[in-house]
Subunit: 338 residues, 2 copies
């Protein structure tokens, strides 16, 4: 089969790889119908040291089950399923708490989703059957449940967003935009979106952002405070030290910052100033699997349309170009059709 493999920064190649096979009785093999490039794929695309072996890429995909191991219950050959971006058995103590990202039987990327087919470990727990056909117009929004929409939702849930709230979303990438959808869905009344790319913040307004702040740093903080007097709930959907500082500057005493962007820093300012202000820092890598069934009805009935974040479709062979277009910020999020 053909699949995308990263060999180092800026070096993604589409090449022949062995067809995935059932190796554990808990596996399934899924033929990919749609996958995508994640914002987090851009970090290694910017900085990964060159390697001879390469790393199969992609952790968001939906597709049709082709084969299942002897122990798999639920998903069966022919089913259209979506897979969240990590594997989980859906029954361990962490999964039982809704923290599938910490599943005791989960592990990362055996195969990547940016390919023709994928071996999915812990298939019973991992994949969710979709009640539509593979040619459904809802496919992009259903694919968004594999990561960006369930991640945005994680931010809104952990920030404690509820009816009538004012929420700040920092970042106009796909996750930030999905956080806007999620905040609105949970009842936020005012949603301030901090982002500088007009096409993206326009989509954010469509999704429910009531205000856009297009300046950064101290000026951005001042503008957010001028608009809101400070916000109780912040969803930080980028992961740089600057965006974290923006969150800290904009949040009110006693407020909550939920982080969704993988931090690009090891240490952060959690000293006496943050302590005296009673700021809560929460969020983290989304337990996407925990939220799929919960969000699925709203995608099916059209209440939310996170698939609008996909602004360009690429063939599998065009995947290297999809990375470059996203790195150049010409494309918000690339959909890949094998």
């Amino acid at each position: 089969m053909r699949a995308a493999v990263m060999y180092g920064a800026g070096d993604v190649r589409v090449e022949d790889r062995p067809d995935p096979k059932i190796t554990q009785p808990t596996d399934a093999v899924v033929r990919v119908v749609a996958s995508c490039v994640c914002g987090s794929d851009l970090w290694p695309y910017a900085s990964m040291p060159a390697t001879d072996t390469g790393r199969p890429m992609g952790h968001e995909f939906l597709g049709i089950v082709e084969d299942t191991g002897a122990d798999v219950t639920g998903p069966a050959a022919g089913d259209l399923v979506v897979a969240p971006f990590t594997y989980s058995d859906n029954t361990c103590d962490y999964c039982a708490k809704g923290l599938h990202i910490s599943c005791r039987y989960g592990f990362d990327g055996v195969d990547g989703g940016q390919g023709e087919a994928v071996r999915v470990p812990q298939a019973t727990g991992t994949v969710v059957k979709l009640p539509v056909n593979a040619d459904s117009a809802l496919l992009p929004s259903l694919l968004a449940l594999s990561d960006v929409m369930t991640t945005g939702h994680h931010g809104a849930v952990t920030a404690g967003v509820g009816r009538g709230d004012t929420v700040l979303v920092v970042g106009d990438g796909a996750v930030g935009l999905c956080a806007v959808i999620a905040a609105k869905r949970l009842g936020a009344e005012r949603i301030v979106l901090a982002g500088r790319h007009e096409a993206r913040t326009d989509l954010g307004r469509d999704f429910g952002a009531t205000d856009v702040v297009a300046v950064r740093g101290e000026e951005g903080i001042a503008r957010i405070r001028e608009l809101t007097g400070g916000v109780d709930k912040v969803i930080e959907a980028v992961g740089t030290r600057q965006t974290f500082d923006t969150a800290l500057g904009a949040v009110r005493d006693g407020g909550t910052i939920s982080r969704l962007g993988v931090p690009q820093y090891e240490e952060g300012p959690i000293g006496p100033a943050v302590f005296m202000r009673n700021i809560t820092l929460t969020g983290g890598a989304s337990p996407a699997r925990a939220y799929i069934e919960q969000l699925l009805p709203d995608v099916l009935n059209g209440a939310i349309a996170p698939g609008r974040v996909f602004d360009q479709t690429f063939s599998l062979d065009q995947t290297p170009g999809a990375y470059q277009a996203m790195a150049d910020r010409q494309v918000l999020k690339a959909l890949i059709r094998p």
Copy 2:
């Protein structure tokens, strides 16, 4: 009047100061019946640069109202009252949310509580009348509501402690021990106390600790994990980088660390590892005032006895010795009687 003034590290003097007077219509003057030395007073006692002017000390006291300004309602001359460690009007937007520590009209230490009398700004909102006489045996436990007990409670509340929980309390100082009381009061079933001073951890067992871990660092983390498999709720009641690392090592993925000790560090480890584990960091300086009425009934009916943390009483003139005894860890918490 006589009052304790700090002139630098290791230099506390008891000297004559002007008698406090009403200067604002919202003030009260309170004659101190009992005050104490706070663990946080030991930080400047260890490191404050020498000064000619000095800093009046003490932010925990109870006493009898002597005089009130024209705008004061509620507290009246002759009332025995307890004052939390910061002033607050109890009506601003932050106070209304229970975040009195961030009161828009609060400010720190005009007079210190380690003296014969104190001018209390925002007296209507700040002090709470106590329904006992000044010679009540409950006085130490009522005094504990000014800080250590309400701070321990803040830790348990922000950590989300509830019925049946396993909780780790890091630190066997007065705040840590009060956090044990608070965790038990909120229904925790298992309370692991990390501390190395046997007399203190014994008191912790009396307060409800079910296990004591008396070793530090990696060994301490390993012992806590062996006992519990990791804990979902940690109350960090010290504030050093080492105790924070202990909290991080002992907490389970998806768990919460509530910090009560003023951090003795500016930056802390909140990078990808903490993010991937979905650790929530919460707590901070306690809004003590918010909790006094809530905890008062349990002190009055004897359900909790946080006053047991006071293991030695000093006269006001002996205050310098009280600091030194606490710094030398010969005394857990010093009660001062003017």
